[in-house]
């Protein structure tokens, strides 16, 4: 058996029943998912207005907000904020990967560390991620042990998973403390308050957002929701459909750190970052949003559930789609951001993904549409 087969069937056997259990035990979650879809559609129908509102709200909180069209613009802004020869810690972000932020910062002689365990392994192995929630699921624990032995030492292929985690924890702790800048994505952004929400289990994102003096969040415009109340729903739905409910941590950030302890005057900064930057990214999304069928892809909340129900992903997952976008959602996103229709050609229209998607995206129909566009040389959103 190939190591991919072993790793993915272990992950499927763990994840699939867990999601059903979570949904069974918390029947309010599908209701929340429905509300989330409605709120996301409201934003997509009025995208420009909500982008403007978000930018204004972030500024009201004493933060900085930017709107970028493509990877180059995003890299320039991040490069200006970070500068050279700094230590940067990153919380897993597909958009940062999409925009090549880590590689760009490294080219400016910064020391950049992925702090999500899976993403850290990916960085160490210099490989693309294979799943949005679990970027290193293509690695068996034996392989992880071997990799860590080579890169940071302290464990080997026979070590226990707990020991592997401890070794990375110790190694990264020092980086967190010394870091000048923390970079994260955002699971949801509230237009009315300019707050971002981040959901995680490891605690690395908390560290990344709070320990360094500067926090940069990078997110696609599709992450905007009308209100903070809507945005709060997203972490619950995302973690539930990822089978990781309740999430260990949900982080809410509205601008740089603040205190109101002296005469109830809110002043910034306090203990956390003194600077907060939100970078809102187009990179093909705005064009996709104008297309009735492709717009559906923008509803994706990256729970990764569709991957585990997809026969094609199970057969070839780690090479299907343009990194970091793999699996059924990745076949849609490869087209939205890279104009690449080839991954869509691999959709066998089993329909499992549409059955399980919390956002009720009819993924096979979107992919069928992309296939037709690809066949007729109609390129995607990116730079088109």
């Amino acid at each position: 058996m190939l190591s991919w087969d072993i790793a993915v069937s272990r992950a499927i056997n763990n994840a699939v029943p867990r999601v059903y259990k979570v949904l069974n035990e918390h029947p309010y979650i599908p209701e929340l998912a429905k509300r989330l879809r409605g709120a996301k559609l409201e934003v997509l129908n009025n995208l420009e207005k909500y982008v403007e509102e978000t930018i204004q709200s972030v500024k009201n909180n004493g933060g900085n907000a930017y709107y970028v069209h493509d990877a180059k613009e995003a890299q320039e802004i991040v490069g200006k904020i970070v500068g050279k020869e700094k230590i940067v810690v990153m919380g897993k972000s597909m958009v940062a990967y999409e925009l090549g932020i880590r590689k760009y910062l490294e080219s400016l002689e910064n020391e950049v560390w992925e702090t999500d365990l899976g993403e850290f392994l990916i960085q160490q192995a210099n490989e693309p991620p294979s799943h949005i929630i679990a970027p290193a699921i293509h690695m068996t624990k034996e392989r992880v042990g071997k990799l860590l032995k080579e890169k940071i030492g302290g464990v080997d292929e026979n070590s226990k998973v707990e020991d592997m985690v401890a070794v990375v924890r110790k190694f990264l702790r020092e980086k967190f403390i010394k870091a000048d800048v923390g970079i994260t994505g955002a699971n949801a952004i509230a237009a009315d308050t300019g707050s971002i929400l981040l959901v995680e289990n490891e605690g690395n994102i908390r560290f990344t957002t709070v320990s360094p003096p500067i926090h940069i969040a990078i997110a696609g415009v599709e992450k905007i929701l009308p209100t903070l109340a809507d945005a709060m729903i997203e972490p619950l739905v995302q973690s539930a459909y990822a089978g990781l409910y309740p999430p260990t941590y949900v982080n809410l950030t509205s601008g740089p750190s603040s205190t109101a302890d002296i005469e109830h005057n809110r002043v910034r900064p306090a203990h956390g970052p003194r600077e907060f930057h939100l970078i809102l990214v187009d990179n093909g999304r705005v064009k996709a949003n104008k297309d009735e069928v492709l717009r559906e892809a923008l509803l994706c909340i990256r729970c990764g559930r569709c991957h585990f129900h997809c026969p094609v992903y199970r057969a070839i997952g780690n090479v299907w789609g343009d990194p970091p976008y793999s699996g059924p959602m990745g076949a849609m996103w490869s087209y939205v951001v890279d104009g690449d229709s080839k991954p869509a050609m691999y959709c066998v229209h089993s329909g499992n993904c549409k059955e399980v998607c919390p956002m009720q995206i009819n993924i096979p129909r979107v992919l069928e549409y992309i296939k037709n566009k690809g066949i007729h040389n109609d390129s995607g959103g990116f730079n088109a």
Partner: protein, 272 residues
């Protein structure tokens, strides 16, 4: 068909069905030709161009046994329909192909164009009601309306038959993705199987609506290796439940056959 096929291969199964009529059974030659499609694909590195199939179609033909099986299945369906009070005509060698492969490979523009031609032909023949017998044809036909306005009724035989033989035995089932998750027929054939007395061995993780994976067949024209890998995974899962397997689609049958170590039967071979 997407490649030239001897029309007699497609139509010889029917002997005494009336030619044409306002209600017809529509095979789209799927059961008849599907056993040889795998051979076509194996001979090709890739059919990025469907035209690549043309010369090969003349040399590859289903074997006598394969054809006999396909003909038996189609006749069983006709018998079941008759016993349920439904008589149909048939277009014999005038029967067109549905265009399913165009749709499934994403040639939407071409599919729409093709659908217009097929609808025109059905109208010329005075067809008012079409009874489909496989999921791919049924799916293609139900999607014609997105491209061409028509009032022909498209119905699948599973929605019409209420007759079954009495059968004893335990089987597991591999669902057709299209019937199960797109066309709402999943319960229809389960109902028929229950009626026949068959005991289905199911497991929510393997044969559940969200979890029952594809056989991989429709991916064959894009990437045969991946298609076979999916079939292998699927067969391995199904074998855990039972060595006797039922399918409801000719593509599932030929795709799973080389990978499943037990016996595979189309439900129409067993319950009618």
């Amino acid at each position: 068909m997407p490649f030239p096929v001897d029309k007699r291969v497609c139509s010889s199964w029917a002997k005494d069905l009336p030619r044409g009529g306002d209600t017809i059974i529509y095979t789209s030659c799927m059961y008849q030709i599907e056993p040889s499609v795998g051979t076509f694909l194996k001979l090709l590195p890739s059919i990025s161009s469907l035209k690549g199939l043309m010369p090969l179609a003349r040399v590859v033909k289903p074997s006598k046994t394969q054809l006999e099986r396909a003909y038996r299945i189609l006749n069983n369906i006709v018998i079941a329909l008759k016993k349920s009070g439904i008589n149909t005509g048939y277009l014999y060698e005038d029967e067109p192909y549905s265009g399913a492969i165009l749709l499934e490979m994403g040639f939407l523009d071409e599919f729409g164009e093709y659908a217009r031609k097929v609808v025109k032909l059905f109208k010329e023949k005075g067809v008012k009601r079409i009874i489909t017998v496989d999921p791919h044809t049924h799916n293609a036909l139900t999607r014609y309306k997105e491209f061409v306005n028509h009032d022909i009724d498209v119905v699948n035989y599973l929605e019409l038959v209420n007759y079954t033989k009495e059968v004893k035995g335990e089987f597991t089932i591999h669902d057709s993705c299209l019937y199960s998750r797109f066309l709402g027929l999943r319960e229809k054939y389960r109902e028929l199987l229950r009626k026949s007395g068959i005991k289905l061995i199911e497991d929510e993780k393997i044969t559940g609506k969200d979890t029952s994976s594809c056989c991989g067949g429709p991916l064959g024209p894009v990437d045969l290796k991946v298609s076979e890998k999916i079939a292998e995974n699927r067969a391995k899962d199904l074998e855990k439940l039972n060595k006797k397997l039922l399918v409801v689609c000719p593509i599932c049958y030929v795709t799973l056959l080389p990978h499943f170590s037990g016996e595979i039967k189309d439900i129409s071979e067993v319950i009618f």
